[in-house]
């Protein structure tokens, strides 16, 4: 009765890491190997399908140009995502306190998610120009709703006993929100964050593709127009790396923000 339950399991970290990441690494290497072999042996023109080795080499040779275009994309992603997060949070709180607002606004948001990006992106550029603003808006458009849903679902995930307990202590709506609903939403928030951050990069590239002075989107468009499939793919690799870095950052932030989840409970879903 005085012993703590075994919440944390000690495992050999290296063996654990190998077991965890080896299959994915092997699958990835096999795919690249097949691609390399096919591009070299089938006689297909490198302009159509460059082997991965050439993609990496071209990317390295053009690293300055790539880097120059990664930064604007990163900026658009982060600004757009920050704008989206703040808006989603403020709205989630309002909707949580005034349920009619939810019924008024949610259908609108759902419709906004059905708009095809291909059609919307050029229009937003047409309306707001080639600057940062249309990118921010487009990133917000694709990430805002998943974040709002994650937050509002999270608020509702408070167990009934905890709400009854707080009510018996005399907690009002505001205290109930701060003490129970908000912290309960954290796992949901981070689940939404991980999904949204990947959408955010895609959204930023789409916005640039529709019109921009700089950025990975416009870099891809130019490379394509110059028949440089290798540079298109190099830019794709760069955007994938960017997305993975941002994804990793959300995991680090989650670990810092939810120290209790490391003991094994409270990290649902």
């Amino acid at each position: 009765m005085t012993e703590p339950s075994s919440g944390t399991r000690a495992r050999a970290p290296l063996r654990h890491a190998v077991r965890q990441y080896l299959p994915a690494t092997m699958a990835f290497a096999a795919l690249l190997g097949l691609w390399e072999a096919y591009a070299r042996l089938s006689g297909i023109a490198p302009m159509t399908l460059p082997p991965p080795s050439q993609v990496l080499l071209s990317g390295w040779r053009n690293r300055e140009g790539l880097w120059d275009n990664i930064l604007p994309t990163l900026r658009a992603t982060l600004f757009g995502f920050a704008f989206s997060l703040v808006t989603a949070f403020v709205l989630s709180v309002l909707v949580d306190f005034f349920q009619p607002l939810r019924r008024a606004l949610f259908p609108l948001f759902i419709v906004s998610q059905t708009l095809p990006l291909v059609a919307i992106a050029p229009l937003i550029v047409l309306w707001f120009g080639f600057g940062l603003l249309p990118k921010i808006l487009l990133v917000a458009l694709v990430t805002f709703f998943p974040m709002l849903v994650a937050l509002t679902e999270g608020y509702r995930s408070v167990p009934e006993e905890i709400e009854a307990l707080l009510a018996s202590m005399g907690a009002g709506k505001a205290k109930l929100f701060l003490l129970a609903r908000l912290p309960s939403a954290l796992p949901y928030f981070f689940a939404g964050l991980r999904i949204s951050i990947t959408y955010a990069v895609v959204g930023a590239i789409f916005a640039e593709y529709a019109g921009a002075a700089k950025g990975l989107g416009i870099y891809i468009l130019n490379a394509k127009n110059n028949f440089r499939a290798d540079l298109v793919l190099a830019a794709v690799v760069a955007s994938a790396v960017l997305t993975l870095v941002l994804f990793g950052a959300t995991l680090v932030i989650q670990r810092l923000a939810m120290p209790w989840a490391r003991t094994g409970e409270g990290n649902r879903p």
């Binding site: 012993e3 919440g7 167990p159 006993e161 009854a164 018996s168 907690a171 003490l179 309960s184």
Partner: protein
């Protein structure tokens, strides 16, 4: 003579047309441990919701310290069925929850609660998160969170119902010892006959829905009741209570 701490007279309550509590009367005096014992779904939770103000009785009166309950400011500290510890708060911050809701600063609440950890068998676990604790420890933390609110009366809603049998027995003995030291005024709701006999000064037996009190049992056996001379008497009383409960269920 001082008025009873809690007095229900002829209280009925229900949802829509479904009667849940029917003409319920009971008394809890200061420093008494009173249990409400009945089958699952007999409306025990409804009674607690009425006491905490979430539900209004349809008829009858509830008095607290001689005044109508509705005029009394939150006299109960409530311990729910499952421990309801917040997984994102350390044990000490779970224990201070009620004090924080009352408006005490976190610092002051922590220094008030910290000295009690040893008595509740939680010394050294102040900074742990609930997930690191066993079921029994979590339940003790939940009781600590309940008593530090220093309300005039404790409401315990099947506090050990979710524990395994062995841990539950240990917790019942522990609670009986804690009560002997502190003499809290307690209303316990349970469907565990042994628990009620072990802990209570008086037991109100409830019938199945709509719940009425079918029998009041005063227990003046000396404590502790888990060993020594009283064990046989307590066991006989348990059998007697079970018989009454089974008979009532058959006639319904």
């Amino acid at each position: 003579m001082t008025p009873p701490r809690l007095q229900l007279s002829g209280v009925s309550c229900g949802y829509d047309r479904l009667a849940v509590l029917d003409d319920l009367s009971l008394t809890v005096n200061p420093g008494e441990f009173v249990s409400i014992l009945g089958p699952s779904g007999a409306g025990k939770s409804t009674l607690f919701r009425m006491l905490t103000g979430a539900l209004q009785p349809q008829s009858g009166t509830i008095f607290f310290d001689g005044a109508p309950l509705s005029q009394t400011a939150r006299p109960f500290a409530f311990m729910p069925q499952r421990d309801a510890l917040m997984p994102w708060r350390r044990i000490i911050d779970n224990a201070t929850l009620g004090l924080e809701v009352q408006g005490m600063s976190r610092q002051a609440a922590r220094s008030k609660v910290r000295p009690l950890f040893a008595e509740f068998g939680l010394a050294g676990f102040e900074e742990h998160y609930p997930a690191a604790l066993s079921g029994g420890m979590r339940q003790r933390a939940a009781l600590l969170r309940t008593v530090v609110q220093e309300r005039p009366m404790l409401l315990l809603d099947e506090p050990f119902g979710a524990l395994d049998a062995l841990t539950r027995s240990r917790m019942q003995i522990w609670l009986s010892e804690m009560w002997r030291r502190h003499r809290w005024t307690v209303l316990l709701v349970t469907h565990d006959v042994r628990e009620a006999v072990l802990l209570s000064d008086r037991i109100h037996l409830l019938s199945p829905r709509p719940a009425r009190v079918i029998r009041d049992i005063d227990i003046d056996l000396p404590r502790p009741r888990f060993d020594g001379a009283t064990v046989a008497t307590a066991a006989a009383l348990e059998t007697d209570i079970l018989k009454t409960l089974f008979q009532t269920e058959e006639t319904f």
